[in-house]
Amino acid sequence: MAAAVVGLALLTAAGCHRAEVPPPSASGRSLVVVIEGMKFTPSSIHVHPGDQIVFENHDLFPHTATAKGVFDSGPIPSGKSWTVIPPAGRTIPFACLYHPPMTGEIVVEP
């Protein structure tokens, strides 16, 4: 089950040793979540299946975008970004592992 979940959450990262992922489908949008000032902006993201979310770190120190059992960016260095296509049909809470007060949620339409 875990493998299937991870398989559904296709990952890519700039500057990290993550697997290459195919570009989003023609219908998939790309939405940016800015990590700055110790918060995710926006912190609540509504997407459609196939949309990709790009976490851009504008802070001076590393953060993560981690949804337990769904996706984990690992450290996103300052100035770098990390992209995920979240699995469809669920609400996914996520947080920065290094800074627990930093939280957000992704709502993926069915």
């Binding site: 000032g37 110790m38 918060k39 001076l60 590393p62 592992l97 290094y98 800074h99 627990p100 007060p101």
Partner: protein, 173 residues
């Protein structure tokens, strides 16, 4: 555990009403030295705690302190290098460094839960003081706009650190 000497006392504010109009004058080179010293104090305490604590949450917090304050110091040093500003050691930066060394020395004598509690208690008090100093002295007095912008940019990190430390403090008491 000895009480922290209030940072604002070290900055010469004492019992004066707070506010930019009454804030003592601190130059940009002095601010740079204070910022570097303040970050280094937390880096040193964090490194010690990472090596000593057996509590996973305390260890994770301490590592975050090391990572974040190291990054802030790098940004501060890179900026003053670019601006050709030489940090000027002053009574406040020296007192911060001395206070940090005393804190680590005191932590040497503690073990286990007592260590964790003392380390986190100090982190709460320390971040409260640093935030107050940022707001009432360092930011209002910074003359160079890039230095001021850096101080403003890092402020949310100190707020987040304080929030994290307080949450941890509650779990340890």
């Amino acid at each position: 555990m000895k009480k922290l000497i209030p940072l604002l006392t070290l900055l010469g504010i004492g019992a004066l009403p707070l506010g930019a109009a009454n804030a003592p004058k601190v130059t940009d080179p002095q601010i740079a030295a204070i910022v570097v010293a303040a970050n280094q104090v937390d880096i040193d305490a964090g490194k010690y705690a990472v090596g000593k604590t057996h509590n996973a949450e305390v260890k994770a917090f301490a590592q975050t302190m090391v990572t974040d304050h190291t990054a802030v110091n790098k940004s501060a040093v890179d900026l003053v290098t670019k601006l050709k500003v030489t940090p000027e050691a002053n009574d406040t930066s020296r007192a911060l460094t001395a206070g940090g060394e005393k804190n680590v020395s005191a932590l040497h004598a503690l073990e286990g839960a007592a260590f964790d509690k003392a380390y986190v208690d100090h982190e709460v008090a320390y971040h409260e003081q640093v935030l107050q100093a940022l707001d009432t002295v360092l930011v209002p007095n910074a003359q160079n706009s890039e230095l001021k912008d850096l101080l403003v940019k890092v402020r949310p990190a100190f707020v987040a650190h304080l929030e994290h430390a307080k949450h941890l403090q509650m779990s340890l008491h």
